[in-house]
């Protein structure tokens, strides 16, 4: 593979780890695909749930969301979907925001947004499931 005229500056350890200059390797790509795969059945469940619940009133919606199975799948849907969208928004920001400082700031804000949406939604689900 590598001859005597090898110009590769990487150490053998760096080559074995294969993490590249980002020190993350394919982690971002892999997690993006993993959450994408999970999102397919979870999204279909969410859409089906909303169809079934269309036109339902306050009490009916609360009872449906308090169902343990629904609550669990909804939490999985939120975690997988939010993780996926944070990864995607990071790529969009990295593509269009040139300034390094602004780039880091917007990615950080995007992470805060994601966590805020997730925590608020999951708290609402837990409240419905446990406290009513």
């Amino acid at each position: 593979m590598s001859g005597k005229n090898n110009t590769d500056m990487r150490t053998p350890m760096a080559k074995v780890r294969g993490l590249g200059s980002s020190h993350e390797g394919t982690q971002h790509f892999w997690r993006q695909r993993l959450t994408a795969l999970a999102n397919i059945p979870l999204t279909l469940f969410f859409v089906g749930f909303l169809i079934a619940l269309n036109g339902a009133g306050y009490a009916e919606v609360r009872a449906a969301l308090a169902n343990p199975f629904v609550a669990l799948v909804m939490i999985l849907f939120l975690i997988s979907g939010l993780y996926h969208m944070r990864l995607g928004m990071q790529v969009i920001i990295e593509d269009y925001v040139i300034s390094e400082g602004l780039k880091l700031l917007t990615i950080a804000l995007s992470t805060f947004f994601t966590v805020a949406v997730g925590v608020a939604s999951i708290f609402a689900l837990l409240k419905l499931a446990f406290g009513g």
């Binding site: 036109g55 919606v61 949406v117 609402a124 689900l125």
Partner: protein, 137 residues
Amino acid sequence: MSKSPATQARRERPLSPHLTIYRPPITMTMSIIHRITGGALYFGTLLVAVWLMAAASSQATFDWVNWAFGTWLGRLVLLGYTWALMHHMLGGVRHFIWDTGAGLEKHTASKIAWATLAGSVVLTLLIWVAGYLARGA
């Protein structure tokens, strides 16, 4: 700074065909739409969060959110959200197919691109028809 002969020569050279010259291939359009729908869905999660928080709070709050989602503007946003979700999902499936190394041939890729567009519209309509049937109105 005066213009050197080299600059003049560079100016007269033909530009390589770029975005404004090409008729955008469908794969390119779908790629752009995939990114736009992804960005829209990012903010669309706010609608899910608002709905869940409303359900977890008072009847009055829930009724207000339900009313807002039911207005023509609300329904238009939700219709767009449904289509964005379906288009992004089918676009993702397209990427999974490509991940296996299949479907990368030019004409096949174009066909799959058209299929994601058609599929997303059909699925959106089916979801809304099913939704109205479930409502019984």
